[in-house]
Symmetry: C2
Subunit: 255 residues, 2 copies
């Protein structure tokens, strides 16, 4: 089995020129097959603001009405995705920007309206690994925006961490998969004010304990839940780290 | 030699839901290999307005400063491109949205600053037909936004008519190419107020005459110049028409 590395990047890392360039330099160094999955929430909020569209978040998730769907489609699928693709091409990596609609790559179902109506948010139903394998065999590096489609002509907003873990899980059928969640911190921190308090190894019991006593909270919880699900489903390694530590494998390892 | 149809659509056609759906229905009916190239200028102007970014046009061309480049990258590469891709997927066409940066498809050079500084506008230097052929052989339908890249990490704004004719010309090496320029009119009109005054056959002498006496003006001139260039370079047929007439081949034929 070949090896594939999936790097998910979010937060400031993809939204500021300097950190994006540094990320792309690190990503360039990864040998073999690779996929980059990106976020871009801050930029979406900023563009929405400038267009006079109100942003509403619940539990760290964006309520996606029709106007917000247009914004995230533009910002994730256009602005950020193409910035990354052009940046990788300039480094000699033949990249291809994708959303879930392109090549019917990721089909999703509009989330059921329960207590909260998240609007045009999609829960992943199917990952088209045939098309992905075709690209990878041609030495093409997919750059994937956090957008899916419903097969009926509608785009849907989908969490980038989830997309990364779903891709990782499906690809375990064909590859040894290494999944890196990258953001601005060196890993999951015991103390948010101390950059050096990285939790090096995290098992599910410890995660449950830290969740209960509040050491791990809000945004980090769904990311780690995705990570544990990936690890349980056969992904070789799941690491939460910053881009500079991809090469040396330092950060929080899910065990 | 196989056949390929390139449809370029601009104007209101791609920017209003009803006309877009009707276009996609017509596009669906085209048999064999096909490519869709789209514009989206009106939407770009609208989004720019809402973001408080001023739009400046000279001779029908958009002056593309850094802020405007972000807008067109979002609107063309994200909003409109993905709306089309999702719409085609819902019709069972396995489409893939692309800019010139994706797969290094279209490299361009930032336009030389002469009397006018157009900003981040690219003149096409190279079309990567190998990647295009690969997609076409896999039965994938490319949907191409009017954006290119310079190979140094920068996106560039490029006229959609020009992209369509450049693709058409390069593909004559491998296919019999049919190029359709679609917009809201039935063809080039003798009298702009009379929808039925379509000029059916247009040769270069007639074009020159109509240009001199003002019957053909502004926006139509570069479109037709692109059309004549394509026809001279071996494209089998160049037709200017509205989407409903793709199937029956009615409109203005460049001869």
């Amino acid at each position: 089995m070949g090896r594939i590395t999936i790097v998910k990047v979010g937060g400031k890392v993809v939204e500021e020129t300097e950190s994006l360039n540094s990320l792309l330099d690190q990503f360039y160094k990864i040998s073999g097959n690779k996929i980059l999955v990106h976020g871009g929430g801050k930029s979406a909020t900023e563009v929405a603001n400038r267009m006079g569209i109100k942003t509403q978040m619940i539990n760290g998730r964006r309520i996606t009405d029709a106007a917000t769907l247009e914004v995230v489609t533009m910002v994730y699928g256009g602005m950020i995705n193409k910035k990354i693709v052009a940046g990788l091409q300039s480094r000699g990596i033949n990249s291809l920007g994708l959303t879930g609609a392109d090549l019917d790559l990721i089909r999703a179902k509009k989330r059921h309206v329960g207590e909260i109506d998240y609007g045009f948010v999609g829960d992943v139903e199917n990952v088209n690994t045939n098309e992905l394998k075709l690209l990878i065999n041609e030495n093409i590096t997919p750059v994937i925006a956090p957008l899916t489609h419903d097969g009926k002509g509608n785009m849907l907003n989908t969490n980038a961490d989830t997309i990364a873990s779903e891709l990782a899980i499906e690809l375990t059928n064909y590859f040894d998969v290494y999944l890196f969640y990258c953001f601005e911190k060196k890993g999951v921190l015991m103390n948010p004010d101390d950059e050096n308090s990285v939790i090096h190894d995290l098992d599910f019991d410890l995660f449950t304990k830290y969740k209960e006593n509040g050491i791990i909270n809000t945004g980090m919880i769904p990311k780690l839940e995705n990570g544990f699900r990936a690890k349980r489903s056969g992904v070789k390694e799941v690491l939460i780290t910053n881009p500079d530590n991809i090469a040396n494998g330092k950060g929080t390892r899910i065990i």
